[in-house]
């Protein structure tokens, strides 16, 4: 167990180092840090002095080490465009993204499980077939198109829901939430659907496939032969075993949710990290891009780590054997 977790940790650290390295290279070599700070009329001497004081003339490993040290202490540099520390920008926008992503994930997982189980147990049913067909379309449609469609239907045509922003938010220290006000909750509905739809269809199809697979196994037949009720067979025996891959995929999808939040936030003018990132790509604000890259890298690595450990806890076959699942 310990060896397994240690190995996962080492791998996570290596990935994180690689991501930090890419972020650093962008930071240092794409665009000129000096030119972005001083004005057009700075003399060559000024530039050299600044470059010296920023440590840009130091050897590469030293610069990278300093970058890492600063990042670990929460210093991610200063935004070229906004002139404020990047860390402040990130923290300010973090709650909006987390709230959106977590609620989308919960909705996707909950509905995905229910619909997936239903579709598996009523394979030939009319509703199950409709759900499956709709999910096929859901897998193919680009996220932003779903968002635009929802805005057209609910904001322009029916005028039920607001199409941009978070509505009124309540602040607790640095954390803000829109869940406590009506306008905040209303503003959440469409972004959550847009962001969660792809994941929902994915989880649903996965749960269905896994359930169907498990239902064909010997021990399900045996459970039926023992005269257990349908409910017990389906939920005690079948579902439990179908859950293993579902946990893995769901964990990994949490990362994608953060990534697709970029698109959703842009469509709905959601004041989160993704919208900040798109803006920074548009205006080539390298420090923000680099910091966002590291943030996403961190989220992915942590999620992967948790999934690795969960996998281990859920699947007893892993505990006995020495083999580690090759991912």
């Amino acid at each position: 167990m310990l060896a397994y977790i240690l190995r996962s940790l080492t791998q996570a650290t290596l990935v994180m180092l690689a991501v930090a390295f890419i972020a650093f290279s962008m930071f240092r070599y794409v665009g000129d840090p000096v030119a972005s700070i001083v004005g057009q009329d700075a003399t060559l001497k000024d530039r050299q002095e600044l470059s010296e004081s920023l440590g840009l003339n130091d050897p590469f490993p030293l610069q990278f080490a300093r970058f890492l040290g600063n990042a670990l202490q929460g210093d991610l540099g200063i935004s070229y465009r906004q002139g404020r520390p990047v860390a402040d920008l990130l923290i300010e926008r973090l709650p909006a993204t987390i709230e959106l992503a977590v609620i989308s994930a919960i909705v996707a997982l909950g509905l995905g499980l229910i619909l997936g189980i239903y579709a598996a147990l009523n394979r030939k049913g009319v509703i199950a077939n409709i759900v499956m067909s709709v999910s096929l379309i859901g897998v193919s449609l680009p996220t932003f198109l779903i968002g635009v469609g929802l805005i057209f239907l609910f904001s322009v045509y029916l005028r039920w829901l607001p199409s941009f922003g978070r509505g009124e938010v309540v602040a607790f220290g640095w954390w803000t939430t829109g869940l406590l006000t009506e306008s905040g909750r209303k503003s959440l509905i469409m972004p959550v659907i847009t962001l969660g739809f792809f994941q929902l269809t994915l989880i649903m199809r996965l749960v269905r496939a896994e359930m169907l697979e498990v239902m064909r196994t010997e021990y399900i037949k045996f459970a039926r032969a023992r005269g257990l009720s349908d409910g017990k067979v389906h939920y005690r025996h079948a579902l439990r075993n179908a859950m293993v891959p579902v946990i893995t995929i769901t964990g990994l999808q949490l990362g994608s949710i953060i990534a697709f939040a970029i698109v959703t936030e842009t469509v709905f003018n959601w004041p989160g990290l993704g919208a900040l990132f798109v803006r920074s790509v548009e205006v080539v604000d390298i420090p923000v891009m680099a910091a966002y890259l590291m943030f996403v890298g961190l989220v992915f690595v942590v999620v992967n780590l948790i999934v690795d450990v969960l996998y281990f806890l859920v699947d007893p076959r892993l505990r006995g054997g020495i083999t580690v699942p090759a991912r």
Partner: protein, 324 residues
């Protein structure tokens, strides 16, 4: 290195040993693939739609009722006209016009053309990079293999859209903000190409490792052929089959990625709009009631992607021997 449909077809057919009918057409009509194609009306419909869309994009100049880029023919008096079935609509502009009087149908035709070209070139680049690296990794093994596959693993952890955005941003910084349309076009192609190579590399590496030990490769080595020749002339034709499936599904993904980037405002500019750009521009007029400016490009994109996806799904099943 290009994979033409002929190559791919002969690669898939050669494994099937169709004999008797010498003509290509006869072989195609006699194959399992053609049979499974004619058994599924959804697939045939998807193929028909894809074909119609691609043809209308290719011949956009000939069939577009108006030229949306010719400033002389544009008139603000024609602006914001609804589609022909509305009371104010005109047959001159079947799907209406935007605020500047550009014909929506013509814009869609030209936009789809750009979307398809970017998607196709992106997939071509991704496949070229992926196949080359996969061949090299699978054939040489050892350190080269583990380095390439490590990079692939790390990249696979991140969604393609994020990678594409990062590459797009970095390249924008490198080429400077004063960029031409042509440059933006290639930035997009490279972003998509670099985001999707991993799948090809993994697949090709797997089959190359199997092929490497076969006798024909040993024979080729024995007569003194170089590694490059062996890889591209002898191994490549034998591992390229599954790539076709990935490429088809990737084509839909590449089109979506391009549309998403353009929609986010970091793709093609309004002067050279793709479907994504059109949707972004139209989105701004959604609230003024001009729904047709955004809904029609959106529908076109959705139908195009869905049709290509269905074709890809069918191809995957048809080429999968386990399902036969």
């Amino acid at each position: 290195m290009q994979i033409t449909p002929e190559d791919a077809r002969s690669a898939t057919l050669s494994t099937r040993q169709v004999q008797g009918s010498p003509s290509v057409m006869g072989r195609v009509l006699d194959s399992d693939i053609w049979y499974s194609f004619t058994r599924s009306w959804i697939t045939m419909l998807a193929a028909l739609i894809t074909l119609v869309l691609i043809l209308s994009a290719v011949f956009a100049h000939q069939i577009a009722p108006n030229d949306p880029f010719n400033l002389e023919s544009l008139s603000l008096l024609d602006g914001s006209k609804p589609p022909f079935w509305s009371a104010d609509g005109e047959w001159r502009f079947p799907l209406g016009t935007d605020q500047q009087g550009r014909c929506v149908l013509s814009s869609i035709l030209f936009g789809m053309r750009i979307s398809l070209i970017v998607g196709f070139l992106g997939v071509l680049l991704a496949a070229s990079i992926g196949i080359t690296l996969g061949l090299v990794a699978g054939y040489l093994g050892g350190t080269v293999d583990s380095v390439i596959m490590r990079v692939a693993d790390v990249q696979l952890t991140f969604p393609a859209i994020l990678i594409a955005l990062l590459i797009d941003g970095t390249m924008r910084a490198l080429v400077g903000t004063a960029r031409s349309e042509v440059l933006v076009f290639w930035v997009l192609v490279v972003s998509i190409g670099l985001s999707f190579w991993v799948q090809y590399a993994r697949t090709v590496r797997g089959s190359t490792m199997v092929e490497r030990n076969k006798e024909y490769v040993q024979a080729a080595r024995l007569i003194g052929l170089g590694n490059v020749t062996i890889l591209f002339r002898h191994v490549l034709p034998n591992v390229v089959g599954p790539v076709l499936v990935i490429a088809t599904i990737n084509m839909a993904l590449a089109i979506i990625t391009e549309a998403t980037l353009s929609f986010l405002g970091v793709g093609l500019p309004p002067t050279e709009p793709s479907l994504g750009t059109l949707i972004r521009l139209g989105n701004e007029f959604l609230f003024s009631g001009e729904w047709w400016v955004v809904i029609f490009p959106g529908l076109t994109l959705a139908i195009l992607v869905l049709a290509i996806n269905l074709l890809g799904d069918w191809l995957r099943d048809a080429l999968n021997p386990k399902l036969r």
